[in-house]
Structures are given as C-alpha cells and as structure tokens.
Amino acid sequence: MSDGSQRPAGDESPVPEPDYTIESVTDKISSIVLVRPYGYGWLVGFTISFVLMMVLLLATSVLFIKGVGIWGVRTPVMWGFAIVNFVWWVGIGHAGTLISAILLLLKQDWRTSINRFAEAMTLFAVACAGLFPILHLGRPWVFYWLFPYPNTMGMWPQWRSPLIWDVFAVTTYATVSLLFWYIGLIPDLATLRDRSKNRVAQIAYGILAMGWSGSSRHWHRYRTTYLLMAGLATPLVVSVHTIVSFDFTIAIVPGWHSTIFPPYFVAGAIFSGFAMVLTLTIPLRRIYGLQGFITAKHLENMAKIILTTGMIVAYGYFIEAFMAWYSANPYEMHQVLNSRPKGPYAHTYWQLIACNCLIPQLLWIKWFRTNPLALWVISIIVNIGMWLERYVIVVVSLSSDFLPSSWAMYHGTKWDYATLFGSMGLFLMLLFLFVRVLPVISITEMRELVHEQAGHDESHGAGGTKP
C-alpha cells in the first residue's frame, strides 16, 4: 500500500512455491502427523500448556467449591474478567470463519494455506469463550436453564435479554464452525487413513473419514456441501460479535449504549482473530518448515487485514469520543472523555490506544508486513490491546456509571488471572494436539492449487484478478 508494492496479483509470488508437486505436497503435510516423531520443542510446549490447563482446572474447582466470590467481581462491577475473557476469546474465534467462508466466496486462493489452522484455532477459542459465561453463572451446573426447553419449573428465558441471544449466537457459531471444519477435513482424513502404517491410526482416521473413496460423486457432493456451508457460515462471522456487542449496547450504561458498537465489535473481532492467527502460524511455519506453503505473501495479506480492521477499530474509538462530546450528555461525556482517559484506569486506556491504534500503523511499511519477527511482535501487541479494550469497556463503564455514590474500583484477583492464563493453557494444549493428529494445512486444497499452477488454470481466471 505505502510503497507501490500492491501490484496486480499476477506479479506476486504464487502460493505454494512453484517447486511443489502434488506428491510432495501430500508428503510434506501428512508427514507432520504420520512420520515426524514429536520433538523436544513440542513436548516442552505441550507440557507448559498442560500445566496451565491444570491451573484452569484448579481455579474452576475452587470456584465451584467457594463460588464467584473468589473473583474480583463486586457491586457495581459485576462483569469482570469473565466477560472480558469471553469477549476476547470469541473475538479471536472470528478469523477462522472469515478465512474459511468469506475468503472462499471471494475466491481468494491464498486462504488455502491458513484456513485449516485458523478454523481449528476458531473452535478452540470458542470453546474457551464458552467456558466463561458458564463459570460466571454462579450455579454453572444448571447452565441448561438458558435454553428454552419445556420444564416443570414454569421457567422460560427472557427473550428481551441479549444474553439469551448470545447463547444461541455462540452455540450456532460453534456448531457451524465445527461442521465446516470437519467437512473440510474429510478428504484429508482419508489421505491419512490410506497413508498411515499404524493400525490404530488407520482405524481412527478410517472412522472419521466416513468411507471416503474419492469417487467423482463424492467430490461433487463434497464441493456443493462445502460451498453451502461457506454461505451459511458467512452471516455468522458478523452475527456473533454483533450480538456480543448487543450485550453492552442494549444496556443503557454510559459508554456502552453506542450504535457504532456492532460493526466496530465485528471489526475488532477480525482484528484480534487475525492477530492470533499470525501469533500462532509464524512459529508454526518455522518449526515445521512450512514456509513454502505459508509464504511471505500470506503474512503480508494478513498484515493488511489487520491494518484495515485496526483502522476501523480506531475509527470506532474516535467516533465514540467525538460523539460523547457532541451528545452534550453529561454521563456520556464523563464516561468517555473523563473516566476512560483520565480516571483511575487511564493507564489501561492509553495502553489499549497504543496497542490497537498506534503500533499497528507500522504495518503501512512493507518491511513490517513481511518481516516475520516484527509481525509476530505486533500481532502479540494487538492481542494484548484487544484484551485491554474489553477490560476498559466492561470495567470502566461499570465502575463509574450514573451515580458517584455507587462508584467503586475493580481489580482481578489471583483466581481471575489463574482462570485467564489457564484458558490460554487449554487453548494451546488443544492446538498442540491438533498439530500432531490432523493435517495443519488442507492437503486437498493445496494439491488443487498445485494442479492449477501447473498450467491447468485457464478456466479459473487465477492470473488476472486485477485491472
């Protein structure tokens, strides 16, 4: 963008790199699962994440025994870390569907290298997200009361509450993401079934591949289903975080009741989702030697998406601040122009501005978009920034709403932090397992790309997508 690098697509390096053949693609990707022994690094990483997950187990056990009083939530801040973490994880879980569904429909071939991994990441992030509202319930064992089911208690959910909409939004999202991911995996599972030498693996992959034989009828149905699922998943990219934003906007708390929230939450979700994809894929491609599949072009494209969505998020912050002044509403003005930038949580606010608005501007420069280490650091900064953003939205508004007499400070306790870092452990542990048992890049789609690049692309218009 900033240096004329944005040339027509035909000039850019192809994906994957041209020296791959259909055979070598299959070998390379499936070998991570089937041949390569797990290394030291994997074991260390897995152990650390496993220990963190044990911390989560401990924290939730204490929570179940003693109740939510172990957390920092007190009147008036009844939504603390739990909701911050929930929104953060759901946001991270947005990249997968965006990459899989929207980029597929937009015919962006480069998505092929990252979609499988991003979808897995989405599922694990949504799993982490789903934990928090349930833990926050107080009586988590009756979480199913959230669903409208016929019961003898004469109970029915309050449909005007966006929290109920959330239940449906998140469960729908999790279901569709899981199905989409699984359907995409089927041909690859068959490949693993056919190539694995281990009897147990053959049976396990064989069951999951559901009798895939690669007949043209199978392929035809597979294609149709995959496209239909993409169409179904597309609205979900927008709907989930929109409804999460309604959790705030429908309440009339100053700083929450803002009409820009839905699109700006969605942009923020994609922003953090792509940041997480970068945080994870940059080490992954290095460790497993996948630079030929996840190329500099991928990193750059993701960096551009982060830059774009980051600008939308920055616009959201700006318009919120401007409109708070413009509204002449004393509560809005106090909240957005006083509590946030000058109040007791001001340091958090300014850190979030630095992380989400200022530092990502470096991505205008091509060097930062293509240098993996720089990009990795920026992606982590964005992840931190997006967590802080949710912290500011949730905590600052609740701690200083309408009546000064009800203002009070909030701080997370050690159990809050244990749950947050523990959820990261769960997330990472699932990812470590995923890397070992399933192909991190879609073998099928990669083979297709190689086939097209080998000169069979006339009918696809792959070259000339630009003016």
Partner: protein, 396 residues
C-alpha cells in the same frame, strides 16, 4: 473498442435530455427556493445527498478496487472513473445548501441556539463557518482524488494497461480519507438536521448506503450499455454475477447498519434518542419505513440470492432500479421528517416537499448525468486488457 457511432449518438441524445432535466429541474428548484424555501431546502438536500453519494461512491469503489482487485472492477471501472468526475459539479451544486443553512439547520439560527444549552455546547463544532469549512475541505480532497484517479486512468491507457505504481500506493490512505471525511459530512449534512440527536453509526450507515446506491447505479448503467457492443461481450454472466453478489453484500450491510441503529435505540428508549424514530414512524412515515424494510432489503435480498437473475443483465437491471428508487426514498425518510414542524405539516408526510424532491433530484441529476456521460465518452468503454493478465478474461 472506441464507442461506436451509434452509441455516441445515443450518449448525445441522453445528454440533451440531461440538459433539459438539469435546466428544468434547477429553474424549478430556484423558483421553489424563492417561493417556498422551507420545503425547497430539505427537498434539495435529499436530491443533493442522492447524487453526491454516487460521486463519492464512485471514488471509493475505485480506490477499493485498486486495493483488492477482482473481476468485478474490470466491467465498471470506466463508469466509475466517469462517475468520480461528477464530484466537480456536485461541489458547485452544494452552494445552495450554504444559502439555506438557517432554514435547514436549527443550530444555524442564533435565536434557537441562545435558548438551548446543548446547542451552545456544540456551537464550536456546529456553526456555519465550521460547517462550510468542513464541507469545503472535503470537496477539495475528493476533487483531488477524482482528478488523480482519472489521471492514472489516462496514463494506464497510454501505457497499454499498466497503471502507475502510485495509484496503488495512494489508494489505502485515500480510502481512509474518503471514509473519514464522508462519514463526517454525512453527520453534518444529515444528522445535524436534528442537532439534539446523535448516533455513532450514522456516518457509516450513510456511507454504506451510498456504496450500495453506487453499485446499483453501476449495474443499471452496465445493463443498459450491455444492449450493444462493446460492453455486450465484456459483460459476461460471471462478471455480472460478481457485481450482483457485491450488491447483495451491500444490501445486507446497509440493512445491518440500519437495523443495528434501530434495535439499539428502540431498546434503550431514551428521551434524547427515541424522538428521531418517533418522527419517522408516524403520520404516514411508518408506511415509508415499512416499504424500506420490504423493498430496500427483503425484495432485493431474496432476488439477489438467485444465480440466474444475477447473470442476466436485463433482469438484474430491475433489482438495481428498485434499489436506486428505494435509496432516494430512504434519503427522503432520513431528511424530511426532521423538518416537519418547519414545513407546517407536523408529523405528517409533507407531500409538497416530497414532490419537490423529484424536481430537485431531476435538476441535480441532469447535471450529474451530463457530466458522467461526458467522462464516459472520453475513453474506450471497455478496459484494454493488459497482456500480463489476459488469462483472467476467461472468467465466465
């Protein structure tokens, strides 16, 4: 691939009609402005917002296409380039609004401001000088961009399809500028009609509406041009389908924004917010709102789900027409209820002003269309294919 003689004649004919519409509409508007200013100015604002939205939409979509690429742009780049030029006459046609500030905007009336503390608070932002300055700066920026985009097009034509590198470098920052200035003038021109009311999504909602309008206008234009060569062979079903899909995306995006604003304000039900919707949901306006839900969202949405419809230019043109008409209705629904008291119709639909909207829209549109066709005639109607990308032409 120069526009053939027959096509040129047709353009000339449309241009003469456009001149007649421009002169008739603007003279009619001028008379109305002198006789009945309280109805004229809101009506003029509606017409202005409609056509300036298309100019801005053309600039934005060109910039967007520079960034993303895609087959959809090949077909409409020429019309977009010509459409971007219409920002120049739109800047001149903004002048009458400058004369009507007091009639249109309560904040421009010092007597009203003196009695309203909130307006006094907003006075550093909402005052005639600042308002005109913001609009003026925005127009200068947009005209510069329209010029640069057309300059790049000329260079590309001379160099056989290779656009200059700076076109791609500037597009990112330029799009950010258009987005930012566009959302703020939208708030100035539209939202500040009711200066007590505020909504953070308003600017973006109006911009998205303009982008949708521009897509509809482009599909309309291309479908008309596709009745003869050279566009007939360039408008392949695949490209038309891409355009249709993009229009569908913007139909959804527009509805998403409009509905989000409605849901949040309706559920909040706060005294400082809800009157905006109350004014737009009674006295007959509720039927307009209902029609918007139906014909600005549901009908185009379901129609555009059908693949065959999108691939046939002579069918999709009807969906585009519906969107264009409904967007004018949408703008009228946004603007006119704000001035109900001043018009003396109270909450009821001001039929006189609504009729005037047709006159002002025709007048401004005549100028805009004339300018558009002038721009379209300057260059070949279909983009020369760059040899390096010829592979892409097989997209069907």
């Amino acid at each position: 691939m120069m526009a053939g003689e027959a096509l040129k004649l047709r353009f000339d004919r449309i241009q003469s009609v456009a001149i007649i519409a421009a002169v008739g509409g603007l003279v009619g508007s001028a008379i109305a402005g002198l006789v009945w200013p309280s109805a004229f100015f809101p009506a003029y604002l509606v017409g202005f917002l409609f056509w300036v939205g298309i100019s801005l939409g053309c600039i934005s979509l060109l910039l967007l296409h520079n960034l993303t690429g895609g087959q959809w742009g090949r077909l409409i780049r020429r019309p977009l380039e010509a459409g971007a030029l219409t920002i120049v006459p739109m800047a001149i046609l903004f002048v009458p609004i400058g004369f009507g500030l007091k009639t249109l905007y309560p904040w421009a009336d010092s007597a009203i401001v003196a009695a309203d503390r909130a307006l006094q608070h907003k006075a550093p932002y909402l005052n005639p000088v600042a308002f005109l300055l913001r609009s003026g700066i925005s127009f200068v920026l947009w005209i510069t961009l329209a010029y640069l985009l057309n300059l790049a097009a000329s260079i590309r034509d001379r160099k056989g399809g290779q656009a200059p590198g700076w076109l791609y470098s500037m597009s990112g920052p330029a799009l950010a500028i258009v987005f930012f200035t566009g959302s703020f003038v939208a708030m100035d021109w539209g939202m500040s009609l009711e200066p007590d009311w505020y909504s953070t999504i308003y600017g973006v909602m109006v911009i998205v509406g303009w982008a949708l309008l521009t897509f509809a206008m482009m599909i309309f234009t291309i479908s008309l041009l596709a009745r003869s060569e050279p566009v007939a062979s360039a408008a392949t079903p695949g490209r038309l389908q891409d355009l249709g899909n993009l229009m569908l995306a913007f139909v959804m995006l527009w509805a998403y924004m409009a509905f989000s604003q409605f849901l949040i304000i309706w559920s909040g039900n706060l005294t400082e917010e809800i009157p905006w919707y109350l004014r737009r949901l009674r006295g007959g306006w509720e039927y307009v709102a209902f029609a918007l839900v139906l014909f600005h969202f549901f009908v185009p949405f379901f129609a555009l789900l059908f693949r065959d419809l999108k691939r046939n230019s002579q069918v999709i043109i009807w969906v585009a027409t519906a969107v264009i008409v409904m967007h004018l209705v949408d703008l009228a629904w946004l603007v006119l209820p704000a001035r109900g008291e001043a018009l003396g119709t109270g909450p009821r639909i001001p039929w006189g002003a609504l009729l005037l909207v047709l006159v002002t829209t025709a007048g401004i549109g005549g100028v805009s269309i004339w300018c558009f066709l002038w721009g379209l005639k300057r260059r070949p109607l279909v983009l020369e294919e760059h040899p390096a990308h010829r592979g892409g032409s097989a997209h069907v």
